[in-house]
Every structure is written in structure tokens, then in C-alpha cells.
């Protein structure tokens, strides 16, 4: 059954028929299992992995380390959730180390991101400091290498 998910993870478009062919599990079972996973939330949603740069959209991403004065009894949760609700925020993680939260901010320009950090993020109650790192180039994302694939160097017919 796990195999079904492996196929879908690399090709969300795969039809039940195709999944059945690739895994050897019969098609009706595939269909039922996928429906059950959709219902239970094992499959959250189907998405396309878009390379916006290639599309021509210039987007700017920054990773911001956020230092937070935790709240008595609530720890970091309230602040983290407040930050997470902003449309500009792509990801929020509580991390170990000198800072507390590591968040990913996305905007249309460097100025937009910088303004967001200065005016919104650092102004949130209990946020005591931020440190912003603009992303210059992605080499690997979501387990996927973004560099050009290595050329196939095999000879075309070998024993």
C-alpha cells in the first residue's frame, strides 16, 4: 500500500489504472485506498511543484531568525501562530539554538520583504529581535535537486 503513496508523491496526476500497473495492486483497491487516504488526511492535497523563477515570476524569499520572549504558561505557541497567519509567511519552525523561530518570508521584491520584517514581524509583541537572510539561489528543495540532471554517459548498447 505504501507503494501507492510513493507513486503519487512523484506524480500526483497518476491515474488509478497507472498506479495499479506500476505497483501490481488491483485498480479497485487502489481507488478505494486513495479515497480512504483523502478522507483521513493521509493525502492532504495534490499540488504542482512550480518553478516560479522559470515561469518568469521574480519572487524574493528570506529566512528570518526570530528571537521571542516566551509567554508564561504558553511558551512560543501564541507568538508562532500570530506570525504564521500572515500571508507573506511561507513556513514557521521552532528551532533549537540561539534564536527561537525560523520563518520563511516571501514577497514580490526585496523591499516588500524588508518592509514586512521591519513593520510587521519585528513589531509583534514579544518578538525581541530578527535576523534576515535573503535567499540567493536554491540548489535543492523539498528533497528535489534543482541543479541540471547529470547527463546519461552510458553507451547505448552494453552486455
Amino acid at each position: 500500500m505504501r507503494e501507492i503513496l510513493t507513486v503519487l508523491e512523484s506524480d500526483a496526476h497518476a491515474s488509478s489504472e497507472r498506479i495499479a500497473t506500476l505497483t501490481g495492486i488491483d485498480e479497485a483497491t487502489v481507488r478505494e485506498q486513495v479515497a480512504a487516504w483523502e478522507a483521513s488526511g493521509v493525502i492532504r492535497r495534490y499540488k504542482a511543484v512550480v518553478d516560479w523563477d522559470r515561469f518568469g515570476d521574480e519572487r524574493v524569499t528570506a529566512f528570518v531568525d526570530v528571537t521571542v520572549a516566551p509567554e508564561r504558561g504558553r511558551g512560543f505557541d501564541d507568538v508562532a501562530e500570530r506570525i504564521a497567519r500572515f500571508r507573506e509567511i511561507r513556513a514557521v519552525h521552532l528551532v533549537s539554538g540561539a534564536q527561537d523561530l525560523r520563518v520563511e518570508v516571501e514577497g514580490a521584491s526585496m523591499k516588500e520583504v524588508a518592509d514586512f520584517v521591519a513593520q510587521k514581524l519585528s513589531g509583534i509583541d514579544r518578538v525581541t529581535a530578527t535576523s534576515t537572510h535573503f535567499l540567493l539561489r536554491r540548489y535543492k528543495d523539498d528533497g528535489q535537486l534543482l541543479t541540471d540532471p547529470e547527463p546519461d554517459q552510458r553507451l547505448s548498447v552494453t552486455p
Binding site: E3, T6, V7, T21, L22, T23, G24, E150, D152, R154, L155, S156, V157, T158, P159
Partner: protein, 385 residues
């Protein structure tokens, strides 16, 4: 000036060049070919192994190693065989690191054979088996397996070829070119046959990790005392270009092989041995992923061929399917040549693996899914035309 007029080695001159060569030359001269003719993985070597070799080069691993190979690698190999299969070889004197299974096979045959000794070679089989027997002074005795019986190593067929000169049976499971993986019961029966006639079993297990129905059965589990286990990294770890493999055998034979190796190869490449060790230690997940990927391609491709009327038993191992093309009325060579020139898909005609491979072609599915699907379309067009 001419070269000396005295004859070359009669043994070597008598061996024809590999039939694969012709297709290689033709395919190589064309553009836009989808090749199903490749006998090696399409994955690059797992990065951890490549990185370890780079590091090793930076730190001077550019020397010979001991003749037997790095002890750590031999220990990793023998421990792994014990873990996976329960067969135990001593790293010290029953395991030799070689420049691929290719060298291991050559050493085995040279250490074992006296002129005139016969080696039974069930076919269709890997192209090097019979020439290597001949190069070592032996007499290859090809025995045709039955395609109708999924190329099973039927002890009755093999037993019928045994004479008083027979010394060994040489075979590989999972098989190149058929993809068939022998059952534990057939291996047991073969072991009994070998015991009865006092024969060696030369077992090429280079595809042992690439099995899809259940697990591989090592021949040594059935007949340790008379088995030579040839194993490698080329296929399972996608390391064909590194030239590293191993051979395990009972001590008296292993020592003779060591003797040849120490005077001929000296040792397998040092940096390749380091890469192989790292692969064994860290690349298991990569191997599992590659196997899962081959498995999906195998299902898709053999189903596609079946739907085209090119019947093939779903192969149990390696990365080959060996469909029958007799329904097209063509010979293997006509089919392969026509498919290449008309539709630009390269496959290998079955007869290069032995006469019983006639009527079949070998297709390798070590190729990305979209290309396999495109190849199926082209094959469909070819046989429809």
C-alpha cells in the same frame, strides 16, 4: 613492415567477437535513439560513495591495497552475506576483492580448469561465460533452457549434459538476459546434482539485490563446499565504472585464485574499494529506492509488451525482460535491426546470448518511465507496420 607471421592464440581466434558489437555500432551512429540495450543502471552511483572516493583521492588513497583487497571491505562483504543469507565466509582467506565480477569469473575458471575440462553453461546466458571458459582452457558445454518453463534451471536438462569430464556448472540468477530468478527448490536440486557428480557450482550473483518476488536464494546456502560465489557492486549499487566486485570460495580454491590475482591484477582500484565500502555502509536506502523504481518499470514495461502480443513471463530479477517476438515472424536480429532503423529503439537480439535466445530480444528497463512508455509506442508502431 609487417607484424610477425606466426599464428596468434588459436583459442582466442576461435572465439567470435560479441554479437552485441554490431548493434552498438549501429545505435551509436544514430540520433534520437531510445536505448533498451544497456546492461547497466541508469542511476548514478549513490552520492555518499562518490563523495567518499573524492575524499579518499584528496587524502592520497592512490596506492595499491593488499592483494586480497581492503580488509574492512572484505569484512563488510562477508558480514553482509552472513546477515542477509546466513552464509559465512572468512574475510581473511575465503574472500577476494576483484576488479568486478568479470575478473572474479576469469580467476575462478583459470584456477579450476585443466585443458579439456567441461563446464556446463545453461543458456541464454551472459555473453562472457562461454568465452571465459574457453580462454581458461576449458570446454564450454551450452545447454538450452526452456523458455516455456521461464528458463528454469531444470536439473533434468542440466543432468543430461554431464559427462565424466564435467567439472562445473556456470550460471547466474537473477539472469542476464532473461531476468529469471531461480527458486530455492531448483537451487537445492541443482546442489544435489552437483554433489552426486562431484561438480563445482559457479554462481554469478551480481544481481542478488535486484529481486522483486521475495528474496534471493544464494547457491552457497545449499552447497557451500562446492560453490564459488561471484558478487559485485556494479548493478546493485550502480557502480559499473568503478571496476570492483568480490568472489567468495572455500579456502583451497580461493588461495589459487589469489595467486593468479596477485600476479595479474595485483588489486582492485584502491579508491573504488573505498567507494564500495562506503556504499555498503551508507547507501542501503539508495539501493532500496532504485529497486522500488526498477520494480515499477518492470511492471509497466512487461505489461505493455504483453499487450502488444510480445509475451514474456514477468521477470523476477535484474533489470531485463526477454519477450518472445516469434509472433512477428521475424528472427531476433531482423526484429532488433528493423526496430532500431525504423523506430530508433535499441534492443539486443536474443541469439547473442545463445541459440536458445533466438526468437527473443533483451530489453533493459534501466531507463526512465517516460522513455519506456515512448519505447512501447514505437514498438507498437513497428510491429503494426
Amino acid at each position: 613492415m609487417s607484424t610477425p607471421q606466426k599464428p596468434f592464440s588459436r583459442v582466442v581466434e576461435a572465439i567470435p567477437p560479441s554479437g552485441i558489437r554490431k548493434f552498438f555500432d549501429l545505435a551509436q551512429s544514430m540520433q534520437g535513439v531510445i536505448s533498451l540495450g544497456v546492461g547497466e543502471p541508469d542511476f548514478p552511483t549513490p552520492w555518499s560513495a562518490r563523495e567518499a572516493a573524492i575524499h579518499a583521492l584528496e587524502h592520497g588513497a592512490t596506492t595499491y591495497t593488499s592483494n586480497s583487497g581492503l580488509l574492512e571491505l572484505r569484512e563488510a562483504v562477508t558480514d553482509d552475506l552472513a546477515d542477509r543469507y546466513g552464509v559465512r565466509y572468512r574475510a581473511a582467506d575465503e574472500c577476494l576483492v576483484t576488479s568486478g565480477v568479470s575478473e572474479g569469473l576469469d580467476l575462478t575458471l583459470r584456477a579450476l580448469l585443466n585443458p579439456g575440462d567441461e563446464v556446463i553453461v545453461p543458456e541464454p546466458c551472459y555473453v562472457a561465460y562461454q568465452p571465459c571458459v574457453a580462454f581458461a582452457g576449458g570446454v564450454p558445454v551450452p545447454v538450452a533452457l526452456d523458455p516455456g518453463d521461464a528458463y528454469r534451471l531444470d536439473p533434468a536438462i542440466i543432468g543430461a549434459a554431464i559427462t565424466e569430464n564435467t567439472k562445473a556448472i556456470l550460471f547466474g540468477s537473477p539472469s542476464n538476459p532473461t531476468g529469471s530468478a531461480q527458486s530455492a527448490a531448483d537451487i537445492e536440486a541443482l546442489a544435489a546434482l552437483a554433489r552426486e557428480h562431484d561438480l563445482w557450482l559457479l554462481s554469478d550473483e551480481i544481481y542478488d539485490r535486484l529481486t522483486y518476488h521475495g528474496t534471493h536464494t544464494p547457491v552457497s546456502a545449499a552447497a557451500w563446499e562446492r560453490t564459488v560465489l561471484l558478487g559485485g557492486f556494479s548493478k546493485s549499487y550502480a557502480m559499473t565504472g568503478w571496476r570492483v566486485g568480490y568472489v567468495c570460495a572455500p579456502e583451497p580454491l580461493a588461495q589459487l585464485m589469489h595467486r593468479i590475482h596477485q600476479y595479474t591484477m595485483l588489486c582492485a582500484p584502491h579508491m573504488s574499494q573505498i567507494a564500495a565500502l562506503e556504499a555498503m555502509r551508507t547507501a542501503q536506502d539508495d539501493v532500496d529506492e532504485m529497486v522500488a523504481d526498477y520494480d515499477r518499470r518492470r511492471r509497466l514495461f512487461s505489461k505493455g509488451l504483453d499487450e502488444l502480443g510480445l509475451t514474456c513471463p514477468v521477470p523476477g530479477g535484474a533489470f531485463y525482460v526477454f519477450p518472445s517476438i516469434t509472433a512477428t515472424g521475424m528472427s531476433s536480429e531482423e526484429f532488433a535491426e528493423g526496430l532500431l532503423t525504423q523506430e530508433k529503439v535499441a534492443v539486443v537480439p536474443g541469439n547473442v546470448f545463445g541459440p536458445s535466445g533466438e526468437g527473443h530480444v533483451r530489453c533493459s528497463y534501466a531507463t526512465a518511465l517516460p522513455q519506456l512508455e515512448q519505447a512501447l509506442e514505437r514498438i507498437s508502431r513497428f510491429i503494426g507496420s
